[in-house]
């Protein structure tokens, strides 16, 4: 896939929600991302799999502005060059992210976590006021139900179980109401029941959002039932439906052969 020199396809390019082309980044000489090309269509849910160290999280760092690529283009909605923007600006454009390690605000309540994430004016002065509008409260309530945490709204986020923290973080993503959600290993450390619930939750979310999910867990990916991209040593090894991809010899070698 990567060996193909991508011809310029303007129509295709502008129709993509996210478009990565020939992106590379090195850390101290080590190429974590190597000529990576990828495109996500509006409304699409894509699963990204690949062995540890394949560069999945680093790819998300590049999309969200945490890491600047050495070379290559990262375009959002066909025109916006994400490599020139910082984290906050990219978040404003409508790209939300769930980290591999769940990061919620542990010393604040579940409800306040969602409140902080809720799409709103982010400037200091606008936030010096107290209280919350009925509209905002309704949105918060709805999200709490979606992420199965309505009963836990007044608990401190730090007191939640690992799986609940993952859900809270997904809820915070929803509150941002982004166009594109990047979800890094949502099922890591979850029980089987929680994993199934999480796949259900993501499918619900994908009904009205574009989503990129990174995951190791093959049953989870199977549950999602979406197009899969296999990443290996920083570039795309294979792409397609899970059945096709998992029959690919190179993929089998990467997963089993080492």
């Amino acid at each position: 896939m990567t060996s193909v020199v991508t011809p310029q396809e303007p129509a295709h390019l502008t129709s993509s929600l996210l478009y990565l082309d020939d992106v590379s980044v090195s850390f101290d000489g080590f190429r974590a991302i190597n000529k990576l090309s990828l495109s996500i269509q509006p409304g699409e849910m894509r699963a990204i799999i690949g062995p540890n160290g394949a560069g999945k999280s680093t790819m998300m760092d590049i999309i969200t502005g945490k890491t600047k690529p050495d070379t290559g283009d990262v375009l959002f909605e066909g025109t916006t060059d994400l490599t020139r923007l910082d984290e906050a600006a990219i978040a404003h454009l409508g790209i939300g992210r769930k980290f591999q390690k769940p990061t919620v605000f542990e010393n604040q309540t579940v409800e306040d976590n969602i409140h902080l994430a809720l799409k709103s004016d982010r400037t200091v002065l606008k936030n010096l006021f107290w209280g919350i509008s009925a509209d905002e409260q309704a949105k918060i309530d709805k999200i709490l139900v979606t992420i199965r945490l309505a009963a836990d709204r007044d608990r401190l986020a730090g007191d939640l179980s690992h799986g609940q923290k993952q859900w809270l973080e997904i809820g915070m993503l929803l509150a941002q109401d982004p166009k594109l959600l990047l979800v890094d290993e949502p099922a890591a450390g979850m029980t089987d029941a929680e994993t199934i619930e999480t796949a259900k939750l993501l499918k619900e979310i994908a009904r009205d959002h574009s989503v990129i999910v990174v995951e190791h867990d093959m049953t989870f990916i199977r549950d999602l039932g979406v197009k899969v991209t296999v990443l290996h040593e920083g570039s795309v090894l294979a792409e397609g439906p899970l059945d096709v991809v998992s029959a690919d010899e190179r993929v089998i070698e990467v997963y089993l052969g080492r």
């Binding site: 969200t64 910082d86 992210r97 605000f105 400037t123 107290w130 730090g158």
Partner: protein
Amino acid sequence: MLTAKLLADRRGLIFLAILAAAAILVPALNLLTPEGSALHVPTYAMSLMGKYLTYAILALALDLVWGYCGILSLGHGAFFALGGYAMGMYLMRQIGPRGVYGNPVLPDFMVFLNWKELPWYWYGFDWFPFAALMVVAVPGLIAFIFGWFAFRSRVTGVYLSIITQALTYALLLAFFRNDMGFGGNNGLTDFKDILGFNIQSDATRAGLFALTALTLAAAYLIARSVVMSKAGKVLLAVRDAESRVRFLGYRADNYKLFVFTLSAMMAGIAGALYVPQIGIINPSEFAPGNSIEVVIWTAVGGRGTLVGPAIGAILVNFAKTTFTTGALAPYWLFALGGLFVLVTLFLPKGIVGTASDYLARRRAAGAKPEPVAAPTPDPAE
């Protein structure tokens, strides 16, 4: 909504009530009781308490940045001193021709240095409203410029603490210089009156005490309304997971800049109230050690509680006065260092944080916790 939430803050209400009582009682007991009476509060004691209260404002200001936003400033003494100098300049200009050299415009130290005219940056300080503006504007502006560069270049943690020490040290060296025009080593002193009132008189001292107590109350209310707002929740979030805040689309730098500047202004006001009650401001107020002491007061009282640091400032300074006037004077710094180590090890949430945890545990479980500023659950409010 606002009043309802403020009323729910029991700890704060008690604190405010005590301050209001002190603002009335202490001056009354000073002015209205005869000197020999058992109830009489001597003027020196009142000014001493007034000094503690200015330190309490300073500690509260530090808590806002350190306790709530995780910025460990080791330079807050500098903002305090700058506010003090602005007030000192006003007081110097009020001396007028009553100085030793009798120069109607120039302060004595300028005459002594053979200066012929007032430096431009002393203009306007004879007018109280201008001086009062400078009390907040100078520390605020310096904090803003400093924060602009530091936060934008994402200097955090120990590195930030170190450059705040460098800031106060640089100002210390600058203010020591005679040619800076701030009285060099001796600083500004020999004040005569403030707003026309004799600065030595009991009534003026009483007024300054009451004003300080009320200012502490006002500073508390401002700080409390900031930390209870949504912006306050963002500050806590910056403290606990800064990069997460950025990915939510908040400009964490702007929030830090806001709270750092606000805090520096509060520290400036504290310094301005300190100088007329103490009667002198000199470069030693910029000493790096002073700023570190503020951190100790805050830690002892309980960071992230607002009330705690104010109490910590009063208690530690009361202990300092008691210690340093007795035979144990040479050991004060050891005692202070020891106190800091003990608090860090055994009372990491300080006096107020620990006490409110204890109360919370005794109270019935199931009460709705408030967002907590202390590092672990603290649903006591």
